[in-house]
């Protein structure tokens, strides 16, 4: 039985749609990260699960039962807010006890639970302090404790780490994962940070403009992005993408840019005849490859003649920024590889295994897996919702 199901949830604010038909399930014990840019509707999803907002259409189910009639307090969710939202006038222990006292849990039981949670989150020393006397990290832990204390069926976390500094954020990422493994409670975690999504999630749900683009494991989202948006969203530096046309030429095929006319060379095109032929049928499409899976010089794959515009040295590796025609692209050089000069023209090869193809509607063209992705992931049903 899933913990929570959303079915075709739509939410409109006036004429604006924050969510357009969002459906997904939160499985028992999983850590689901909803990620997307600001304003994509990810917080709205969380607030609808919590019951703080009502869907305009569609339904939310808790344990298979429709939750429309349940108030936020009756859903038994533990929510962690971005700005912690602690009760400023109450001490740490009163903050932790708040939900239990509201539910008229006996005092002795409350004391017990507060003690347990305080020990788990190392809050024992500050139980009598007010939130105003705590550091950001400590407030964060109190907010977690307040959610934890009621033993909720699900944790909802709305960008809980975004107010912390970088070092603390990294530590809390691991702490949260560890806490999740200890409690085994299903968690929906909202963030705009792709690194948080990648490192913490069992499954990632990628949203943009109120729609789900993909639901999958971090590996799937990275290696098999379902849409051009997902492809560009993950990875630093992001995936190189260019608008191209595949055309017959001199008995073979070429990849050309309809905008600036540059052509890339395909080595051994006859190996994937049928696939190239199917691409010719597309009037236009998008070709993508990741900066970290490129090969310097001319090798097997698709070869681009590019002009170097900039070189960023990061220590263990360098990022080379270059132009193919006027399409900007980036590739990664490991430490020790010779770096080109600015303005130099060089050859860059995207191996066949690194290619991603997207059609005009920005959707992944799965049939091209052979010349695109060779590291094939079984097409598990329900992994993507498209």
């Amino acid at each position: 039985m899933d913990v929570v199901n959303l079915r075709e949830v739509t939410r409109q604010f006036g004429v604006q749609s924050a969510l357009r038909g969002v459906s997904f399930d939160v499985n028992q014990g999983e850590f689901l990260v909803i990620v997307g840019p600001s304003g994509c509707g990810k917080s709205t999803v969380l607030r609808i699960i919590a019951g703080l907002e009502r869907p305009t259409a569609g339904s939310v189910q808790f344990g298979g039962r429709d939750a429309a009639a349940l108030s936020p307090g009756d859903r038994n969710v533990g929510m962690v807010f971005q700005n912690y939202a602690l009760y400023p006038h109450l001490s740490v222990s009163e903050n932790l006890a708040f939900g239990l006292s509201a539910a008229r849990v006996p005092k002795s039981r409350i004391r017990e639970r507060v003690k347990e949670v305080a020990a788990l989150l190392e809050l024992d020393e500050m139980l009598t302090k007010k939130p105003g006397q705590l550091s950001g990290g400590q407030k964060q832990r109190v907010a977690l404790g307040r959610a934890l204390v009621r033993q909720p069926v699900i944790f909802l976390m709305d960008e809980p780490l975004s107010n912390l500094d970088a070092v603390l954020r990294e530590k809390m990422r691991m702490d949260l994962r560890r806490l999740h493994e200890q409690t085994g409670t299903a968690t929906v975690y909202v963030t705009h940070d792709q690194v948080e999504a990648m490192t913490m999630a069992d499954r990632i749900l990628v949203m943009q403009q109120g729609e789900i683009h993909q639901i999958g494991t971090p590996d799937e989202v990275y290696h098999e992005p379902a849409t051009l948006f997902v492809a560009r969203f993950f990875g630093a530096p992001p995936m190189n993408t260019m608008n191209v046309r595949v055309r017959h030429r001199e008995g073979g095929w070429t990849i050309g840019s309809p905008r600036h006319g540059e052509r890339a060379i395909i080595t051994h095109p006859e190996a994937h005849k049928a696939e190239w032929e199917s691409l010719v049928a597309e009037s236009q499409c998008w070709l993508g490859f990741r900066p970290e899976f490129t090969v310097m010089g001319r090798a097997e794959g698709v070869q681009f003649s590019v002009r170097v515009t900039d070189v960023e040295t990061l220590g263990p590796r360098s990022h080379v920024h270059a132009l193919w025609g006027d399409d900007p692209l980036v590739y990664v050089l490991e430490h020790g590889q010779s770096t080109p000069e600015r303005g130099e023209s060089v050859w860059l090869t995207a191996p066949f295994s690194s290619l991603h193809w997207f059609n005009e509607q920005n959707r992944r063209m799965r049939s091209l897996n052979k010349i695109g992705h060779v590291h094939a992931v079984p097409e598990a049903a329900g992994m993507t919702n498209r």
Partner: protein, 313 residues
């Protein structure tokens, strides 16, 4: 989605550090002068003449020490007026505070909507009406025979008091008018406090399972407590200084202001009558001084109590 950025401490120049106090004082100076001339100086003068047998025409004033206070304390009317003032305050302050808080809670939802501005104005409107003008209207409303109030009471077969003509009901009538006139101000203050409540804290309480009353008692009430304290102090001061509506409501056809039988004679009214009706300025000054001490004392007690209950964010 907002990302909070820690404010960066700016490095300040030494010159700015030096100039800042001077600039600050300079900006304060105009209002300080106004206060000095129109407030502190008259107040000091008032305290000064309360130790004299003062004569404004001949200025053959005579220092009599605590003489005025001795006369004052021997006057039964002074003590009666003091009790009337305290009665007035004891009803007004809790009633005004509770009613305006309740009104603000009711109006809160509306205020967030588009018609909020209009609603707020409507509630605030009585407060900006001239006291004397609206008092005259209320005299008609309070009229025992032809007034609207008694017509309504009569319709429901309820007792119809004599209001301003009755020794028992004159003070309640003054209180009803004063509530009508002042609630708007206090309600707007509470609305402001409610509007600044952090939304996420209220939502956290909802998720925590706090129902209406629990939410109000454990979250809203403590968080608006600074404004509650402010309203209590303000209402106390305003009530003890009330003059105009008593003068206007009880003056009219029912004889001299403060009646019937001095039941609406508060300290403020007595100060006025002593000074301008009986021309006894130094006695009135002594009485004002006592009123000041009373208000100050009450405010200090309220502050002491507030320190235990008020939470400042």
């Amino acid at each position: 989605m907002t990302i909070a950025i820690e404010p960066v401490e700016r490095t300040r120049s030494v010159l700015r550090d030096r100039l800042e106090p001077i600039l600050g004082f300079g900006l304060l100076l105009p209002s300080l002068l106004v206060f000095l001339v129109f407030f502190y100086a008259p107040a000091a003068f008032l305290a000064y003449i309360s130790f004299f047998h003062w004569n404004i025409f001949t200025s053959q004033s005579q220092f009599i020490g605590f003489g005025n206070f001795v006369i004052l304390f021997a006057q039964p009317l002074f003590w009666q007026a003091l009790l009337t003032s305290l009665y007035f305050a004891a009803v007004m302050v809790p009633a005004a505070t509770l009613l305006s808080l309740g009104l603000a809670l009711l109006l809160r939802e509306g205020v967030q909507s588009r018609r909020g501005g209009a609603l707020r104005s409507m509630v605030f409107l009585p407060h900006v009406t001239p006291v004397v003008a609206t008092s005259i209207i209320w005299i008609w409303l309070f009229d025992p025979q032809f007034g609207l109030l008694n017509s309504v009471l009569g319709f429901f077969h309820l007792p119809q008091p004599g209001w301003l003509a009755s020794t028992h009901w004159a003070m309640p009538a003054v209180i009803i008018y004063s509530l009508w006139h002042s609630l708007g101000l206090y309600t707007v203050l509470f609305l402001g406090a409610l509007a600044t409540l952090p939304r996420s804290v209220l939502e956290a309480a909802q998720v925590d399972g706090a129902k209406r009353w629990y939410l109000f008692r454990r979250v809203i009430l403590p968080l608006v407590s600074p404004v509650t304290f402010f309203v209590v102090v303000l209402a106390t001061i305003n009530t003890l200084q009330t003059f105009s509506q008593i003068y206007a409501l009880t003056g009219g056809p029912h004889g001299g202001a403060g009646g019937p039988a001095f039941t609406t004679t508060t300290d403020s009214l007595l100060v006025y009558q002593t000074a301008f009706l009986y021309q006894h300025f130094s006695l009135a000054s002594a009485m004002s001084l006592m009123l000041f001490v009373l208000i100050l004392g009450l405010a200090l007690i309220q502050k002491k109590v507030a320190d235990r209950f008020v939470f400042y964010r």
